[in-house]
Subunit: 195 residues, 2 copies
């Protein structure tokens, strides 16, 4: 019982670590199994296919990210700080994520060929779900913060959010999170309703 769950998570850990340090396509299932200390057959019994494993890794990652974000929002004082909490969340998330080097969703979008319009790709759907989730949440927080144009603020913050992630992916100089926070404050300052 508990054994099965434990195995699952060990496989997910190994896959997350290898996929996004070495590249998804470049990482074979055998290496994932070896890293997890598990037989390949076990991996397939649990996940069925490499694609499904990737899907579950991303789903777990998305869940974890939302948790960090929620915590950061809850910890913030003012509505403005709640809006900016997304950058605190990036920092705490990265600190907790361990050896994974970059944004899993960005990497997946890069490696994956555009899906055939016939068959809906579950992995791609997850990617879109991620973007949508972040956008909606930012819009909601911007509205709570009484921003003049909440949608524009949300889009701009999404832009900065993406900028931070890709800056971390490449070896960008200086601290992208701090820069983004400052830029966000400047943008919000212009469009905030004077209270």
């Amino acid at each position: 019982m508990a054994r099965r769950q434990d195995t699952r998570e060990r496989i997910l850990d190994a896959a997350e670590s290898l996929f996004f340090q070495q590249g998804i396509t470049a990482t074979g299932v055998d290496r994932v199994a070896a890293e997890a200390g598990v037989a390949i057959v076990t991996l397939y019994k649990q996940f069925g296919s490499k694609d499904n494993l990737l899907r579950e890794v991303l789903a777990r990652r998305l869940d974890s990210w939302c948790g960090h974000w929620n915590a950061a929002v809850a910890a913030a004082g003012s509505p403005q700080d709640r809006l900016l909490a997304v950058f605190d969340a990036i920092e705490s998330f990265r600190a907790a994520a361990g050896p994974v080097q970059w944004c899993c969703f960005l990497a997946t979008a890069s490696e994956r060929p555009s899906p055939e319009d016939g068959q809906p790709d579950p992995v791609f759907e997850l990617l879109e779900q991620d973007t949508l989730l972040v956008t909606d949440r930012l819009g909601e927080l911007a509205r709570e913060a009484q921003c003049q144009d909440p949608d524009a603020v949300a889009s701009t913050l999404l832009l900065l959010y993406n900028g931070v992630l890709s800056s971390l992916l490449r070896g960008a100089p200086s601290d992208p999170v701090a820069l983004a926070r400052r830029a966000a404050r400047s943008v919000i300052g212009y469009t905030l309703q004077p209270s």
Copy 2:
């Protein structure tokens, strides 16, 4: 003579198109050769290896990008506009680049495993060269625009630049370039020396 150059560019075109629409690892050299209307042997006679082909694709891409950027800077009027010209360049570059969907350098960084510290990886060196080039140029332009803290402005613009590229890579809503330009103006407005 002219034939050889023509073949080279046809291969480079095909590689660029396939690598960054389908993924680098996911694209085989045979498909590149087929797309270029060229025998595989010819490809290897010209480029030696897939890695070298990728390297030359990226180098050409970097050259082309610099050309667009220079043109945009030259077309701008004020020093402030010259600083913001990077966003115009993204638009004209994307319009001219054709079917390639996303930032080649971002995609390469995602797919490629971190290089062994022993052997220097020529492809990775190109990626770093790209980041360095953009950063330096932005710093230079920020200095010419009499910004108060040119390095901070340059870093922030690099952040927005990366944000635009990754937003385009994922299917970000709304127009990231326009948003980035507005955000950049807002940031520069705060740190610009009042003339």
